[in-house]
Symmetry: C2
């Protein structure tokens, strides 16, 4: 097994996105073409909420495992971005605001009791992954952020075009992630290149991005099958 | 078993400090009376460094377990205080600066290889405690901060009086903790009073402060016996 150059290593990491990022999932394709109805979009928002609210949990687990103070000093910004501060609302609050603009209640609708099991399992698997893997492999798994800005840009345009029943001022989450994700992934990539420094660790880092793509994909599977189950189609005939 | 009022509960928590806080340990009494030699003070600084550097680790573990965003938003400040930011040095850096003013090297002296085993075990037990106990019991264990300002005030005066070979400008850690600890323990106490809300949980919170006092005390035992071992005294006769 050969040690890749930084350039080749980065190319392998990026290739995972080209092949497996959830922007290609049928549910996202339907979403971006304006084909989801209000109920489907709300169900997506409720289920994705579980991922959103666990991002700072995941990052705090990672923070507790990173042995280098200078890396923690940068990583902590992710928690501040998502949790916000008592003064400035963060990503979780922005997601709730988006849900409210879709007619959802934060107390009654956007709660764990309403999750599809597949969504919960996928997110819980992510927490387990960062809890049990070496910290730099956990960081490598964050590199789906390399592919996120393109997704957010397309999604934002799709929402503004097709889902005009949602107040566009409530889409601040997507607008802000367009700025935050590139900054985050620059740091995550630099750490991955530095610490995944053997042929074996390089492959494990690529596998971590694949794992992360799978868990994002899997959440959409849960949604897709919820609405498009062939069994349901047969039964409803 | 009765449910204590907030006032009684607080009194029970405070009583632990009166009885068991490590300001009464013989090693601290020797320190505060100017009876430690340079070597003993340096050994204290090196061993206590392990506690200092694990404070943000402990707080990140806790952060990952706190299910309430508004509590995390305040708790995260502790990590920022100790780790610092790329711009502003935090408590760990200030501790290293104090060690350097004692003639210690951060690379060669203030490292894990130089720890007394008893110091390491005590701190590792703390991480294990917050990892395995309910998050609000972990928070209760932080309430030794109720007793810390008095200790820091006396220690700072003792250093400035007795250990004049240490540049007083390098004692910034103690000066800043005098301000931070009261703010931290106000928050920790409020959370403890709110969430430890059964007779059983109130007793468990008191036990958590006892546990924390024990681990602080135990670190000083390791130092005390290192220098004052009766066996050594007998052997050196």
């Amino acid at each position: 097994m050969e040690l890749w150059s930084n350039e080749d290593f980065t190319a392998h990491l990026r290739q995972v996105g080209t092949d497996q990022y959830h922007d290609k999932h049928p549910f996202h394709e339907l979403m971006n073409h304006g084909k989801l109805d209000e109920d489907q979009l709300r169900t997506w928002c409720v289920n994705r909420m579980y991922y959103q609210k666990n991002i700072p949990v995941k990052d705090a687990i990672l923070l507790s495992k990173i042995p280098h103070r200078h890396i923690r000093q940068t990583w902590i910004q992710r928690i501040l971005d998502h949790d916000g501060t008592p003064e400035v609302p963060g990503g979780i609050e922005q997601w709730l605001v988006m849900g409210e603009a879709m007619g959802l209640s934060r107390e009654k609708d956007m709660i764990d009791e309403n999750l599809l099991p597949g969504t919960k399992y996928a997110v819980d698997a992510y927490l387990d992954f960062v809890r049990t893997k070496p910290w730099f492999i956990g960081i490598a798994s964050s590199l789906t952020e390399l592919f996120a800005p393109k997704l957010h840009k397309i999604r934002l345009a799709a929402f503004e075009k097709h889902y005009t029943w949602i107040n566009p001022s409530a889409l601040e989450y997507m607008r802000i992630r367009l700025k935050q994700a590139p900054r985050d992934c620059d740091h995550g990539l630099a750490v991955t290149l530095e610490y995944c420094n053997t042929p074996e660790l390089q492959r494990e880092a690529v596998a971590a991005v694949q794992f992360k793509c799978n868990l994002l994909w899997s959440q959409l599977d849960a949604l897709y099958y919820h609405f498009e189950s062939p069994t349901r189609a047969v039964l409803e005939k």
